[in-house]
C-alpha cells in the first residue's frame, strides 16, 4: 500500500507532439484545451499530469485508445522525453540523467511488458529472457541460471529452446513477463499486457499475474482499456482522457463518487456491488453502538449479498483483517447498492 515516499512522482508532466513542442509549451496560454492545442498543430499526448505511485502499489492507468495512457508510461521510463514538468524515480529526476545513467536505471530497476510482446524473433525463449542480463554483461552461466528460474516462475519450463513464433500468444506473453522480471526490477510497467489475448487466456493470465504479484510485491504501473481488468487488479485507478487524468482513486471511490461526468459514464454499466467493499461503503463509528457479529471489510457487497438479505439488523459492524471493528454499514444502503434504488 502507498507509503510516505513515492517511487514515481510526476509533477505537471506535459508531452506534446508536433514541430517544436518545447517552444510552443513555453509560450502557451494557460488553460488551453486538448482541442485548442490540436488546432495549433500539436497533439497533447500527456497534458499536465501530476501523479504519484507509492512503494509496492499497483496503479492501473485506464482509458480508451488514444487517451495517452501508453504515452504517460513511456514518459515514466523515459522512452519518451517529456516536454514539460518533472518526473522523479526514487527521488532522481530522470530527465536530468545522461544516457549511461538511464541505461543503468533500466538495467537494474525497471521491467516492462508490451502489448504485442516485443520478443526478439531470432532468439529462443531462454535467450529472450536472458537478454537484459546479457546486455548488462552478466556471465553466461549466471544468466542462464537466472533465466531458467524466471521461466519456471511463469510456467514455461520445457519450452526454453523454442522460438517465439513456435509459441501461442499466451505463452509468448509469459516470455515477455519472464524477460521483464529477469533483472528483478523494483518497478514493473505493463502496457496492456493481456489485451492481445483471447478472453479465456486473458483471465488465466490475470490470475497468474495476481499470483506473481502476491509473491513478488513490486511497484506496478499497469495499463489497460478494460475496466473489469482494472477493477480486478488495482489498488488505485487513474482514468485518462485526452492526455489528462480525470480521476485517480481507489476502485470503490471511482465507482461510488465519480469526479467527472466522463468517469460517471465510464462506470455506469458496472455492477457496483461486485466492486465496492464493505469498508468502502461503511461510515465511521462516531460513537454509534453496534452489536453482534462483525462482517469482513475486505469483502465486496456482492460477496455479502446472502448475509445482507438474511441478517435483519439495520446497522452492521465492519471489521478489518485483524478483526477490529472499524465502521458501521447501513443495511439499507448496502441493499440499495446490491439491488438498485427502490
Amino acid at each position: 500500500m502507498p507509503s510516505s515516499s513515492p517511487v514515481i512522482s510526476a509533477k505537471n508532466v506535459w508531452k506534446l507532439f508536433g514541430a517544436s513542442p518545447e517552444k510552443y509549451l513555453a509560450n502557451m496560454a494557460p488553460g488551453r484545451s486538448f482541442d485548442d492545442i490540436r488546432a495549433d498543430g500539436y497533439i497533447a499526448g500527456v497534458k499536465d499530469v501530476s501523479i504519484e505511485v507509492g512503494h509496492g502499489e499497483m496503479l492501473v492507468i485506464m482509458g480508451l485508445s488514444g487517451s495517452g495512457k501508453s504515452t504517460l508510461v513511456r514518459c515514466f521510463s523515459r522512452l519518451h522525453d517529456i516536454t514539460g514538468g518533472t518526473i522523479e524515480v526514487e527521488g532522481q529526476d530522470i530527465m536530468a540523467m545522461d544516457e549511461r545513467a538511464l541505461i543503468e536505471l533500466r538495467r537494474n530497476k525497471m521491467g516492462m511488458v508490451f502489448q504485442s510482446f516485443g520478443l526478439l524473433p531470432h532468439r529462443t525463449v531462454l535467450e529472450n529472457v536472458a537478454f537484459p542480463l546479457e546486455m548488462r554483461g552478466q556471465d553466461r552461466h549466471e544468466r542462464r541460471a537466472r533465466a531458467l528460474e524466471v521461466i519456471r516462475l511463469v510456467g514455461l519450463e520445457g519450452r526454453e529452446e523454442y522460438f517465439p513464433r513456435e509459441l501461442s500468444g499466451g505463452q509468448q506473453q509469459r516470455v515477455g513477463i519472464a524477460r521483464s522480471l529477469a533483472i528483478e526490477p523494483d518497478i514493473w510497467f505493463l502496457d496492456e499486457p493481456f489485451s492481445a489475448l483471447d478472453p479465456l487466456i486473458r483471465r488465466e493470465m490475470q490470475d497468474e499475474f495476481l499470483r506473481l504479484q502476491e509473491m513478488l510485491g513490486k511497484t506496478i504501473v499497469f495499463i489497460t482499456h478494460d475496466f473489469d481488468e482494472a477493477l480486478r487488479l488495482a489498488d488505485r485507478i487513474a482514468i485518462m482522457r485526452n492526455g489528462a487524468v480525470e480521476q485517480c482513486d481507489t476502485p470503490d471511490q471511482i465507482v461510488m463518487n465519480p469526479a467527472t461526468e466522463y468517469v460517471a459514464k465510464f462506470t455506469e454499466e458496472i455492477d457496483k456491488a461486485r466492486v465496492v467493499h464493505a469498508r468502502g461503503l461503511a461510515s465511521p463509528l462516531n460513537g454509534t453502538a453496534v452489536e453482534g457479529a462483525a462482517i469482513d471489510g475486505g469483502a465486496t457487497i456482492h460477496d455479502l449479498a446472502r448475509l445482507l438479505i438474511n441478517d435483519t439488523r439495520a446497522h452492521l459492524p465492519v471489521a478489518d483483517a485483524k478483526g477490529a471493528v472499524t465502521g458501521v454499514l447501513q443495511r439499507q444502503k448496502a441493499l440499495d447498492l446490491l439491488l438498485g434504488d427502490a
Partner: protein, 660 residues
C-alpha cells in the same frame, strides 16, 4: 461501387487548365514539325548547331584527370586494386580455378564443390534444392566449362560479400542520419538507371584491367538494392521490439547489433539475394572489358555465330543463376527451428559436419580418381557442334525460314525503319515538347519539369540522333512487349494454377543475366535491328506479364464479387473492375519494362546498332572517360524521365483508389 470509385477521382477542379496546357504544348510541337516538313524551319531549330554544344566530354575529361592525377585518387584506387582487393581475388582464384597464387592449394576438385552445394541446398530447402545445387555444378563440370565457370565464380565470391558489407554499412548510415539518406537517394536512382558500360570504364581506368576492375564494377553495380533493403528493413522494425530493447538497457551499439539488425533479417536477406543476382549479371557482362569467364566465352561464341556452344554456355549461366537465386531465397524464408533439450552438439551442427565431411571426402577421392578433380579436354560431354548443326538445320527448314525471314522483312521495312525515320525527322524542340506533354499528362507538373530539363541536357550533349535511335529501340520493343505480355498476363490470371505457373516462370526468367536474352534473338534473326528489338522484347515482356498477373490477382475479392452480383459478364468485369484496379500495379511492370529495355538496348549494342550503346562500347576500347559519362548520363536521363512520370502516376492513382 468499384466502378464508381475508379471513375470519379480524376476530375480534379484544375483539369480544365491541364487540358489547355497539353493542347498548347502539343500544338507547338505539331507546328514545329509541320514547319520542318514544309522546309520552313530554320536549321538551328531542327537540330542544335555544332557551335552551341558545350564540350562537356572534354570538360569532364579534364575534371577526371584532375581528380585522378592532381588529387592523387589514382594512387588510392591503385593501392586498393593492387593491395587487398587483388589479394582476395587471387586467393579465390587460386582456390576455385587453380591460379598460381597464395595459398597454392587449389583448384578444389569439382566433385567437392558440387557435394558442398548439394549439402547447402539440402540444409536450405530439402532434396529438391540439393539436387539443383549439386546438379548445376555436375553439369558445369561434365560439359567442360568448369574453369570458365570458376573464373566467374571466383570474382562473384569476392564481389558479393563486399557489396553486401558496403551496402549494409551505407544502409545503416542512411537510416541513422537523415543527411546521408538525402545525399544517397538521388545518387542511387541515377546509379540504378546508368548503363553498365558507364560502370565499366571508370573501373578500368582507376583499377587496372582484369578481375580487379571487373570486381569493382560489379560491387558498385550491386550495392544500391542492398542499401535500399537495409534502410527499409531497419525502418520496419516494430516499435515494441525497439522499446523492449531499450528497456532491457541496450547501449546504442547493442541496440544495433542485437535488436535492429536481427529484427530486419528478412529484408536484409532479400538484399543479399539481390546482391548475388546483380553480381552474377554484372560479372558476366564484364566480359566487355576483357574479363575471362563464362561471359567472355559466350561473347566470343556468339561473335563467331557458334550457336551450339553459345546455347550450352547459356544453360550453364541460367543454371547458376537459378541455383543462386533459389538458395538465397530459401535462406530468406528459412526460420530457425528449436532442438529438443539435451540434443548433442553433433546433431545440432550436423549440416556443417556433413558439408565438411563431403568436402574432405571428395578431395581424398579426387586424389585416387583424378576424373573427380578435373575433367580434361577430351573427356567432357559437350555437344556444341551437334547442337549447332541441329539448330542451324532447324532454322533452315523451309517453313521456319519463311516465317523468320518474313518477320524480319515485315518488322524492318514496314515497322521499325519507318518509325525510326519518323522519330528522327522531328525537330529537337518539338520532340522535347512531346516528351514533356507526355510526362505532364501522365505524371503532372513535377515530372514534366524534369522531363524538360533532362531532355534539354540530352539535346545539348551533342548525341541527339543516337539518343533518339536508342529511344526508338526502347519504344518499339516495349510496345511490342505490351502487345504480348499484357494479354498473356490477363489470360494466365484467369486460373489460379496458371497464375502461379506464369509467376514462377517470370520470376525465374528475371534471375537470368540479361546477356542470355541475346542468344535466341541472334539464333532466330541473325545480327540486325530486328534481333535487337527482339531481345529487348523478350526481356521486357517478363515484367509486364508478371505485374499484370500480380495486379489482377490482388484485386480485392469483394470487388469482383460485387461485380459478379451486379450481373457483369466476364468481359465487363475485366474492363470495368479488374483492369482499372490493377493498373497501378501494372504501371510498376510497365516502368520496369522500360528500365529493362534501356538496359538491354545498351547490351544489344554488341550486335551492332547505331545507338548510344555502340558509342559507349567504343569508349571502352580507349580512355575517353568524359565521353563515356556523357553517353551514360544520356541513357540515364531518358530512363529517369519515364521512371518519374510513371511512378508519379502510379502513386497518385493508388492513393485515389485507396489501395495503399
Amino acid at each position: 461501387m468499384a466502378t464508381l470509385s475508379t471513375d470519379l477521382p480524376k476530375k480534379a477542379p484544375g483539369s480544365g487548365t491541364k487540358a489547355q496546357v497539353l493542347q498548347l504544348l502539343l500544338g507547338a510541337a505539331a507546328l514545329l514539325t509541320l514547319a520542318q516538313y514544309l522546309n520552313l524551319l530554320p536549321a538551328w531549330l531542327h537540330r542544335l548547331p555544332e557551335g552551341v554544344i558545350p564540350p562537356t566530354a572534354q570538360i569532364l575529361d579534364a575534371v577526371f584527370a584532375f581528380i585522378q592525377n592532381d588529387l592523387g585518387l589514382i594512387h588510392v584506387t591503385r593501392f586498393i586494386a593492387e593491395g587487398p582487393l587483388e589479394f582476395l581475388l587471387d586467393t579465390s582464384a587460386n582456390l576455385l580455378e587453380g591460379k598460381r597464387r597464395w595459398p597454392y592449394l587449389g583448384p578444389v576438385p569439382w566433385a567437392a564443390v558440387a557435394g558442398v552445394a548439394g549439402v547447402i541446398g539440402y540444409a536450405l530447402g530439402g532434396w529438391r534444392l540439393a539436387a539443383l545445387g549439386a546438379g548445376t555444378f555436375i553439369w558445369t563440370a561434365l560439359i567442360g566449362q568448369w574453369k570458365m565457370a570458376m573464373q566467374t565464380m571466383s570474382v562473384l565470391t569476392v564481389a558479393a560479400p563486399l557489396a553486401f558489407a558496403i551496402g549494409l554499412g551505407l544502409g545503416i548510415a542512411a537510416w541513422k542520419f537523415a543527411w546521408v539518406e538525402r545525399v544517397l537517394k538521388p545518387m542511387l536512382s541515377v546509379l540504378q538507371t546508368l548503363p553498365f558500360f558507364t560502370y565499366l570504364l571508370p573501373a578500368v581506368i582507376f583499377f587496372k584491367v582484369g578481375p580487379t576492375a571487373g570486381a569493382v564494377a560489379t560491387v558498385i553495380f550491386a550495392i544500391p538494392p542492398m542499401i535500399l533493403m537495409t534502410t527499409l528493413g531497419l525502418k520496419k522494425v516494430s516499435p515494441e521490439v525497439i522499446e523492449a530493447g531499450k528497456m532491457s538497457g541496450c547501449s546504442r551499439w547493442q541496440m544495433l547489433r542485437h535488436v535492429y539488425v536481427p529484427a530486419a533479417r528478412t529484408e536484409i536477406l532479400v538484399g543479399v539475394n539481390q546482391v548475388i543476382m546483380l553480381c552474377l549479371a554484372m560479372v558476366v557482362l564484364t566480359a566487355f572489358i576483357g574479363m575471362p569467364g563464362l561471359g567472355a566465352k559466350l561473347l566470343a561464341m556468339m561473335g563467331s555465330f557458334k550457336l551450339g556452344r553459345s546455347f550450352e554456355i547459356g544453360v550453364t549461366i541460367v543454371l547458376l543463376a537459378v541455383t543462386l537465386d533459389r538458395m538465397s531465397k530459401a535462406w530468406v524464408v528459412k526460420q530457425p527451428v528449436h532442438f529438443e533439450k539435451g540434443t548433442p552438439w553433433w546433431i545440432r551442427h550436423r549440416m556443417v559436419l556433413t558439408a565438411l565431411g563431403v568436402f574432405l571426402g571428395f578431395i581424398l577421392l579426387a586424389q585416387l580418381f583424378p576424373i573427380l578433380g578435373s575433367i580434361g579436354r577430351k573427356q567432357h560431354f559437350s555437344q556444341g557442334k551437334e547442337i549447332d548443326v541441329l539448330i542451324k538445320g532447324f532454322l533452315a527448314l523451309d517453313g521456319i525460314r519463311a516465317v523468320t525471314e518474313w518477320l524480319r522483312w515485315f518488322l524492318n521495312v514496314k515497322v521499325l525503319i519507318p518509325f525510326r525515320d519518323t522519330l528522327l525527322s522531328i525537330p529537337t524542340p518539338a520532340f522535347i515538347l512531346m516528351v514533356v506533354s507526355f510526362s505532364y499528362w501522365l505524371g503532372g507538373r513535377r515530372p514534366a519539369v524534369f522531363a524538360a530539363i533532362f531532355f534539354t541536357i540530352v539535346a545539348f550533349s551533342g548525341w541527339w540522333d543516337r539518343s533518339i535511335i536508342t529511344l526508338y529501340a526502347v519504344i518499339s520493343a516495349v510496345v511490342l512487349a505490351m502487345m504480348i505480355g499484357i494479354p498473356l498476363g490477363i489470360l494466365a490470371s484467369r486460373s489460379e494454377a496458371w497464375s502461379r505457373r506464369v509467376l514462377l516462370a517470370c520470376d525465374t526468367a528475371q534471375t537470368f543475366p540479361s546477356f542470355i536474352y541475346l542468344i535466341p534473338a541472334i539464333m532466330l534473326f541473325g545480327v540486325n535491328d530486328v534481333a535487337v528489338v527482339f531481345s529487348i522484347l523478350i526481356f521486357a515482356t517478363v515484367p509486364l506479364t508478371r505485374y499484370t498477373v500480380e495486379g489482377l490477382r490482388t484485386v480485392p475479392p469483394e470487388m469482383t464479387e460485387a461485380a459478379d452480383m451486379s450481373g457483369s459478364t466476364r468481359r465487363q468485369k475485366l474492363l470495368s473492375v479488374q483492369l482499372p484496379l490493377a493498373l497501378p500495379t501494372m504501371a510498376v511492370g510497365f516502368n520496369q519494362a522500360i528500365m529493362f529495355a534501356f538496359f538491354m538496348v545498351i547490351i544489344a549494342a554488341f550486335i551492332g546498332t547505331q545507338d548510344l550503346g555502340q558509342e559507349l562500347q567504343r569508349t571502352l576500347a580507349g580512355t575517353e572517360l568524359g565521353k563515356n559519362f556523357v553517353l551514360g548520363l544520356n541513357v540515364s536521363l531518358m530512363a529517369l524521365t519515364f521512371d518519374m512520370a510513371i511512378t508519379a502516376w502510379a502513386e497518385h492513382r493508388k492513393r485515389a483508389l485507396g489501395l495503399d
